[in-house]
């Protein structure tokens, strides 16, 4: 079992994923060092990756200044994963050096869509995770686009 699969097993939002899906996710994930002060995502820019934290600390913030600090292995940033606008709607900044898996958004959606039931479970887990870690983030709106207050 690879590090990525181990991390996915720990992460609440991926616990419902099939082991074969986890293996596929491991193949598309790129492990990278994240440096203090590094901007991982900037609001308005094209949403290419989402981030699965291995170590370190990241801050997810909105333009209004609301922020959530994520620091547990398996924490997840990239709330706009299902956004149809394909743009980051929040900023993600590394505030403590560590490591993270960068997962290509398009490839991830391709993998997760192989099993529609699981994709639905994943979205529910994702919503629950957001409510827990960043309660100021809105739920899915009618158009299926995540937005942040």
């Amino acid at each position: 079992m690879g590090q990525m699969t181990g991390l996915l097993d720990k992460a609440d939002i991926f616990k419902s994923c099939d082991p074969t899906i986890k293996e596929k996710l491991e193949k598309i994930a790129e492990k990278r060092v994240i440096y203090e002060g590094e901007d991982l995502a900037i609001e308005g820019q094209e949403s290419l990756f989402f981030f699965l934290l291995i170590s370190g600390r990241i801050m997810v913030s909105t333009k209004e200044g609301k922020a959530a600090v994520l620091q547990n292995p398996g924490d997840f940033a990239g709330f706009e994963l299902f956004s149809t606008q394909e743009k980051y709607i929040s900023n993600v900044k590394s505030i403590k050096e560590g490591e993270a898996f960068f997962i290509n958004r398009h490839k991830f959606i391709e993998v997760i869509q192989e099993d529609p039931l699981m994709a639905e479970d994943f979205m529910k887990e994702c919503e629950a995770y957001i409510s827990r870690t960043a309660p100021f983030v809105d739920r899915l709106d009618g158009s299926g686009v995540k937005s942040i207050n």
Binding site: E36, G37, R57, M59, S61, T62, E64, G65, K66, A67, A68, V69, N91, K93, I95, K96, A134, P135, F136
Partner: protein
Amino acid sequence: MYGLDAISANNGWSIAAVGIIIVFSGLVILAFVISQLHKVLAFIENPDRFGFLSRKKSIDETKESALPVLTKKQKEPARQLCLILDTMEDHFPLPKLIRMAEVSGLDQPYENLNNLLDTGIIEPDSDGFFLLNKDRFKKMVS
């Protein structure tokens, strides 16, 4: 009929035995209550020392002692960061604090910010903003 015969004929021995048992039991209970009275008085005077309250307190103390402690070198930048916080609202936006720390030329702003987060001097509220825990700041930095 008089004397012991009368007592026996009217269940006097049984009644006397029951009476003795009742009185003795009452005295035992009274003695026990009196022997424990000092605990009741102590609880009224200082409830924190007893029961779940003391356990809760010790859990809080354990949590508090599990937090990392700031070294002498870390205290000064922590004070400077908190000075910046004085110019901001109570529920402040974390990105703004980082920006102001960078603009004001604070040495290693991220490391110092992480120290404040690790020690719980800065805590998130439930609305996406952050708060300065003044008690913890006084305890750890002053």
